[in-house]
Structures are given as structure tokens and as C-alpha cells.
Subunit: 146 residues, 2 copies
DNA sequence: ATTGCAATTGATATTCATTCTCATTATAGC
DNA sequence: GCTATAATGAGAATGAATATCAATTGCAAT
């Protein structure tokens, strides 16, 4: 299995783009954990480590990582977009708790069946599909009852 | 079957809110057509008819209509949220063409099954769920080939 | 190594949907 | 009609995302 770096480099090369220090740091930081992340917290994490990479550069790098099929938009919550790794991860869907922001992933093979059927029926070219559930998680329901 | 107005009035009453002229005009305009709509175009439509209702008022009314179960967020496209009627409409999902913005609805009973299963498994309280497909519609694919 | 040049970056300004503020006005029950 | 409370409009504020542009960097060719 190729490393994320190899994949990203390959993609950049193909597009005549450069593997800069900034892009390297961003990539590394993203794949350091397995968590969902948003731009602002990624910016802060990099800052903590002495990497003063501007928000603009992060905003510019994210679409490249998406194009490389390394990450993807996972879910939107409180006006922020949360991203996730997709490289090496099985397709899944998301539940998000409106109260605490907790994201739970669940497997969901039926979704792919639906997508295939729709594709055949309407002759679409599908770029992405998402099943998202919003509500309250077990913990937040418990707290509410008190 | 109750009219939209009756439902909205009932809801407002319950919450000690008032059925103002503005709210009445907004409700009427929304249910005049069956199309998906966004705030800006709704604002323009009202203006055309001599109803100079401020954007703020529209933005304030939309959540009330959602709470009344009359409309719902359907899909997000180019940083705008598109709403749709739900009162009297069968549950369905959406495909949106990234190129031309065309929205196509499709029936989708499997989704409800998935949702029920997830609900049982994780003890969530589900507030909303959405299956969204993004891609290119038949027409836009044809044009591309030329 | 050096050069040339397109790509990249950071700082900052800008955009644009949405929300907030607050003084003025309207609604609904009495 | 009176009164309490909610609603409105205008414009300011917010905040994520994008655009601008001068200075810098990466890298292929020399």
C-alpha cells in the first residue's frame, strides 16, 4: 500500500504542482490522528507545533487532498466543514449529535445499492453521495432527562 | 387535510407568536409553486409582487416554517440552502447537478430502513436524515462530450 | 551551482450568506 | 382603545471562505 505522501506527490506531479514544506506539514498533521477535523483546528494544531502556516494555504491545500482521494468532506456542523481520511477507510456514513457535536460512523452497504440503482435509472455521473443523520446521542439524551 | 395557513397559525398560537402580514405573505409565496427555493430568490419574488419584506424577516420566518413541519432544508448548493415543501409530500432524496444546479428527487424507501436500523442500534433520537447525491445530469454530460 | 520561471505563500482585503441590534411599529387579548 | 409583548426593517456585525498581489520558493534545464 502506498503512503499518503507518495499518493499526494504523484498527484501534484501530474498537475505540475509542487510538494512544498507547507503541503508536507499539512498532510503529515492530518494523517497523524484518525479524527475528523476542521480547518480552524488544523490551523491551531500546526501552530502549536511551530508551523505558522497561514489559513489561506490550508484552505488551498484541502481541495488538492480531496482531488488526491486522500480526504473528503464528512459533515457540516455549526457552519464548519469537518473532513476525514478516506484513503484506506471503508465507505461509511455519519451520525452527528446536534448537542455535543460527536460524530459516529456507521457501515452502510445499502447506500451503495441505492446509489447504483439511481445511477442506472437516471444516467447520472455521480461524484459523491452522502447519507447523514442528525439528532441526539445516547449521552445527551440521558443528560436531558435529569 | 388542513391548509398550510391553518397549520402555521396553530403553531404560532402554541408558541405565543403572531400571524403577521409578513409571515402570511412569505407562507403564501412559498406554497404558490412546488419548486425548491432559496432565501434570495424568495426575497426577489416577494419584491416583484410589491411586498418589500426584509431579508431579516424571511430569515426569521424560515425556522418557524421548519418547526411547523411545512418546509425543510433540501440541499446546499453554491453556498446557498435550498428549501422544499414537505407538507403533503412523500419522503424522498435528492440528486443535484454540480454543473447546472438542477435538482432531481427520487423515491427511496430503503433509506428509512437504514435509519430505523441505526436508530435501534445506537439509541439515537433522530431529528433529520438526508441522502444526497452530487454529480452531473444527463444533459450536462451530453454537452460536455461536444 | 546558477538561472529562469511558474507555482506558492502570507498578509490582508474582500465577498457573501446569515445573524444581531435596536429603535419603531404591529398584533392580539382584554 | 389600551397594554404587553412580539415583530419588523435598516443597517451593522459576524465569520467562513476566496481573491489579490508582492515577495518567495521549488525545480528543471543549463
Amino acid at each position: 500500500m502506498e503512503t499518503e505522501t507518495e499518493i499526494f506527490k504523484k498527484y501534484l506531479n501530474k498537475k505540475n504542482l509542487k510538494f512544498t514544506h507547507e503541503r508536507q506539514s499539512i498532510l503529515k498533521e492530518i494523517f497523524l490522528t484518525h479524527n475528523h477535523f476542521d480547518i480552524e483546528s488544523l490551523y491551531e494544531r500546526l501552530k502549536t507545533k511551530g508551523k505558522n502556516i497561514s489559513r489561506a494555504t490550508i484552505y488551498r491545500t484541502i481541495p488538492l487532498l480531496i482531488e488526491s482521494n486522500l480526504i473528503n468532506k464528512a459533515i457540516r456542523y455549526k457552519d464548519r466543514i469537518y473532513y476525514e481520511h478516506i484513503y484506506g477507510h471503508k465507505s461509511h456514513s455519519h451520525f452527528i449529535c446536534i448537542n455535543c457535536g460527536k460524530i459516529i460512523e456507521f457501515e452502510n452497504d445499502e447506500k451503495d445499492k441505492i446509489i447504483k440503482r439511481i445511477k442506472r435509472k437516471y444516467n447520472f455521473k455521480i461524484v459523491e453521495s452522502k447519507l447523514i443523520i442528525r439528532g441526539y446521542c445516547k449521552n445527551c439524551l440521558k443528560k436531558e432527562k435529569k
